[in-house]
């Protein structure tokens, strides 16, 4: 990630290579990679500011400019930081040569990128991705996205002065398919007990490289090594007799400004996330989907429409979590409602109803925010988390007794 920020700083200073703002979820980074265009992710900048506890100042600046207290705090952190000249690392960020709104599920993004385009006076292209309704996208939806990807190629050719090199595109798509394979294997390691890593809090640290380096050889090498190290850790944990007390599935983004405090609330109970929906924002690969170098445009389109959590509907998200609970053998579900992100949060109470009442899975629902530090009450959250684990412990022992009996 340091390397990426370094490249962005070079781009800011020299204008080379050009950068394109993109949305993490469903990013067509393979296409920008084929043109050597740097991906610039406003939400990564926003979360980096938040986790470094630098988000409040830009949020307040954005509110002064006219944004509402109930607007997405990612947007406010990003745009406020631009006004204030703040960047996550202190090094400059480039003005995007293209604001590429790869609209995937999140309506806020359409507004965010429009604002970025207006405020930074940078050209905008909205790549409209139809929302996934049925299990698979329609042929019309795929054709619509493929045609827009080809329109985007023309834009990228104009920006870079280069023709699309199909071999380079296939290479980028191949790299993504390899990274997806390794990432998927890492996710499946969490099916073991004990899990060698936390598939929410630890997975988040691997998500940055996943977005930035997915379509590169460096990305492939990084995720290969990550898998090897985690496999070794799994073996060592098993030999050392490491035990986890609770296995959980997490739904929703984390509270980045209070990341450590939130993590500690669960660590205190020796609870481990074995799966999370947030870690599938960039792509949902643990159920088998991969980019296909033989069909680069179609597979990029499928990735955008079908294989990321944000473009899938709530019933499909329920099903995804249900599979995690069953196949990753989880004891319960934690739903973290973040006020900024209605894409994730609107209707999560109904999700709780589905898991707790319909399926009988112990479910905790807590509220805070992903970037605004003002919406986090440590004592209140800790009380709710503690109460949940106390009940979960009873639930587990009752289940064990029933099983033994």
């Amino acid at each position: 990630m340091v390397d990426w920020y370094q490249k962005l700083a070079e781009s800011a200073e020299t204008g080379t290579p050009p950068a394109a703002s993109m949305m993490v979820s469903g990013a067509c980074v393979e296409l920008t990679q084929a043109f050597d265009v740097l991906p610039l992710y406003p939400e990564v900048n926003a979360l980096q500011l938040a986790i470094r506890r630098q988000s409040l100042e830009p949020i307040l600046a954005a509110e002064e400019f006219g944004y509402a207290s109930d607007n997405c705090a990612y947007v406010k952190a990003d745009i406020g930081a631009y006004f204030k000249g703040i960047t996550p690392t202190g090094s400059p960020l480039p003005k995007p040569a293209l604001v590429l709104c790869n609209f995937v599920g999140c309506n806020t993004y359409v507004k965010w990128f429009e604002h970025v385009s207006v405020i930074m006076e940078a050209p905008l292209y909205v790549l409209d991705v139809p929302f996934l309704r049925a299990g698979e996208p329609s042929a019309d939806a795929i054709a619509y996205v493929v045609r827009q990807l080809k329109e985007l190629v023309v834009k990228l050719e104009e920006i870079t002065g280069k023709q699309l090199d199909m071999d380079k595109l296939r290479e980028a798509v191949w790299c993504s398919s390899q990274v997806e394979e390794y990432w998927s294997k890492i996710k499946h390691l969490a099916r073991r007990s004990p899990s060698p890593f936390d598939a929410y809090f630890d997975a988040i640290t691997l998500m940055g490289p996943l977005y930035v380096h997915r379509a590169t050889r460096e990305g492939v090498a990084f995720f290969k090594q990550a898998l090897e190290e985690l496999e070794l850790k799994a073996e060592l944990d098993r030999e050392a007799g490491v035990r986890e007390r609770f296995r959980l599935v997490f739904e929703g983004p984390p509270p980045y400004p209070h990341f450590r405090a939130f993590r500690d609330m669960f660590a205190k109970w020796n609870a481990c996330a074995v799966a999370s929906t947030y870690s599938t924002v960039g792509g949902l690969w643990e159920f088998g989907a991969r980019h296909d170098p033989d069909n680069p445009f179609e597979s990029i389109a499928l990735h955008m429409i079908e294989h990321n959590v944000t473009n899938r509907n709530m019933q499909q998200r329920n099903e995804q979590i249900k599979r995690y609970v069953e196949e990753w053998d989880a004891d319960g579900v934690i739903i973290h409602f973040v006020k900024s992100c209605r894409l994730f949060s609107a209707g999560q109470g109904d999700m709780r109803e589905y898991f707790s009442r319909t399926l009988g899975v112990p479910t905790l629902y807590v509220e805070s925010d992903l970037a605004d530090p003002r919406y986090f009450s440590t004592a209140q959250l800790q009380t709710r988390v503690d109460a949940y684990f106390e009940a979960l412990e009873m639930h587990k022992s009752a289940r064990t007794s029933a099983h033994v009996g």
Partner: protein
Amino acid sequence: MNDLYVTCEDIISDIDFKTVRDWKDRTGGKAVGYFPVYAPAEIIHAAGMLPVGLAGAGDRLDIQHADARFGSFICSIVKTTLELGMTDHLAAFDALLFTSICDSARNLCYVMQRNFPEKYVDFLHLPHNPSSPAAAEFLASEYRRLSARLEELGGEPYDEVAVLHAIESFNENRALTRSLCDWRAERPHLMKASELYALVRAGNYLPVEQHTEMLVAAGAEFEGRAAKARDSIRVVVEGAFCEQPPIDVVRIIEQAGCYVVDDDLTIGRRWFTEDISTDGDPMMALAQAYLDKSVYSSVRHDFRKPRSQGLVEKVRNRKADAVIMLVAKFCEPAYFDYVLFKQELEKEGIPHLLIEFEEKLFTFENLRMEVETFAESLLFA
């Protein structure tokens, strides 16, 4: 107040949907409710069904269940619509339709689908990239999909002529609505904003032909009116395109010294700036109209022309003095657009006032004082 407007106010405040149930009893047809802001009602009409524009429950329903399903920071209309379903007020509807206006409405679609499996609940993806030559074809495919699903639900099989006739009926209705809006902008002292609002919105709950008759009758009645203009500023009201404010909010804006010369309340009923073509493939005509003939709206994205430019043009065309941004609490599309609208209005020297509301707003004194102060500051500047 004339009986017609009393009737309209009764219709729009009726959360038991009597007009819909009566129509079903009379015809044996099915009813399709669509969440704001826009839906291709012509396709539903051509299937022999009644398209009904939903608009939450206003202040007519206490939320007992939906708060727990949608939590804090979510707008009221999403919750009251779910509450209507959970309290059996949507029993008359065989299908519910949602579109890509915002994340909360989109998620509501699937919460409804899970909770009401007996209904056909669907989501239409209205394109965000009208500049793409592929967008019209994609949207037409969405419309054909809807038509096929309605047929499965028991609707009339797809018939090109029936859709063309439906387009003609809705064209007539929209043209009359547009002309009443123009008439109001010319003579706001003769037509109250609350009257026009109730009259237009009532069309959400009636067969289009019946509503067109009401518009004709209203037009004739307006023509016969006479009154003296009073000292008021001319305002455009913008931002309440989805969740609707209590009608008293509209009344108070007028009573506090404003003539409302244009607004985007219930904008779905006058979504197109001109008639939809009745030549050729009607599904393609509907799709092309959505892409090229729609009004600007905070829930429709067309980067060929900024929406803030649309607002400024509206202000200039209507000779308005100011804009009142009337924004529903937690409405993210309106919150976002407010930022760019504010910039543009200030650049153009157009005064503006921001008001936040909720469906259930019940104390209006602060609102009245704010609007009065705003109007006076312009009248006596």
